[in-house]
Symmetry: C3
């Protein structure tokens, strides 16, 4: 079940990577590379910090799913762009799943709830940050004032708290993922925005 | 004592990260993320190379101090900018401390003095490079001709040399940090500049 | 022998890093830093994924050879630029060697042939990607439609396949390197290009 969640998250993140490739007029190779890095980057960062060999270099699905996403975008990107609102919804789902799974894994490895939360957020947002930097842009996470990191933080903290209280397993992770997902969707729907530093004009 | 040094360095580096956030008109979340990455990036690189789990994911202070720095910048950034010369002095101090502590830790883990020096420099400059790349700029370290990496290199080499000769402990580290600090301050004060490649016009 | 191959690859990659430094008008320190990162970045990524301490921080030659390359470029960069076609040929050789050595090392550490191939490609292209990002550019690998990653992929896959079939040792690695090298040279010579996404105008 967790494996399936992961693969869905990977597929969606890879879609956003490949679409960035189209927007930047990259060729099919660049699209595939960007899809892989976007999908796997966050999990690789997590595993490096946990000092274990990254899952991305052990699982077949992790490597092949981003290629499938790049293929879809290569042939049908106008359709994919047309369903951009759907992509954003799926990306929110991917974010929720990655944060929950990343936090749970960090707790398993004995990190404190605070640090597990931080690593969960890193898992969720790391790949997208790499995607944006490689595409020559400031990471959306940093300048897009629509909340992205905050839902990730709250969902990860909820997961860490539940795990700390002895609650684990995939229903709990799913709950934490839904929390991130819901907050992210609400942030987009109601245009919740993080403030700029005091005195910096809008 | 070493812990206190570390936290001072982290605070100052985080200030530079959050100030970059203001300059790029990032929101408070972006400022906090940039503060964390600037402050912790170098140490995380060091620990990954040493193949140990990064201290940043074990210590409470490492995570909270950058948030404090981001809060200060969020509310009082015009004042912080006004004391920019002070920030540059503190940044030089942070650089010295990070290089010394990073080099000492690398020697402890059995690296040769040459490699410990290299890793000490990485510890000192890594976070700032990440900050600049994430903000969409070429790292200051690379194009700012005012010496930054060279003081880091000399202080780290001094630390490695002393450690190799059997001298360790925080007074030694403090001495190495002061060396980097003094050279960096002198480089700014007397405008010491690294040469461009032969034939490249000024 | 493998050590010598490695050092040749490192020298050539470092040349491309230092030349990028000249192009971006970096000073000698920036050139040296960029030379080191370009030359060592891919191998460091590989070793982090394999969860071992990076060779770059253990070998003397790995650290000094990039400095030698930076020195050459610092004094004689117009000559180096004049032999740019030669650099591209040497870069293709470096790519081939890094991919073969990286894949072979990954197989030794028990990765599947698929994942060893992926890690071999990462070893070959990682340093150049870091170079481009640090210089404020989208990695050549991503937008240059002349095939670069594909020869790396084919050579790495050949190495993984042979190693999987029980064939190892440096003649095999050399063969895989020559395969990457030949395909990369052919891609430049005959201007083989990867397609853009369907419907994206040329």
């Amino acid at each position: 079940m967790a494996e399936l969640f992961d693969l869905v998250g990977i597929f969606v993140f890879a879609l956003t990577g490949a679409l960035m490739g189209v927007r930047k007029r990259l060729d099919v190779v660049g699209m595939a590379v960007l899809a892989e890095i976007t999908a796997l980057g966050g999990g690789i960062m997590r595993d490096l910090v946990l000092n274990v060999s990254p899952v991305a270099f052990q699982s077949l699905g992790y490597v092949l799913v981003p290629l499938a996403a790049a293929t879809v975008v290569f042939f049908w990107h106008p359709h994919v762009t047309r369903v951009m609102p759907l992509i954003l919804v799926l990306d929110a789902a991917g974010l929720g799943l990655f944060c929950a799974v990343g936090t749970a894994k960090a707790m398993e490895y004995g990190l404190s709830p605070l640090h597990a939360t931080l690593l969960g957020v890193t898992t969720g947002v790391g790949g997208g940050m790499l995607r944006d930097v490689l595409a020559g842009e400031i990471p959306t996470l940093l300048y897009d004032r629509q909340l992205y990191a905050v839902p990730a933080l709250i969902g990860s903290a909820a997961m860490a708290g539940m795990s700390w209280a002895g609650l684990n397993g995939w229903p709990v992770a799913l709950g934490a993922a839904v929390l991130t997902f819901g907050l992210r969707i609400a942030a987009m729907r109601y245009n919740w925005r993080a403030p700029l530093a005091r005195g910096v004009g809008e």
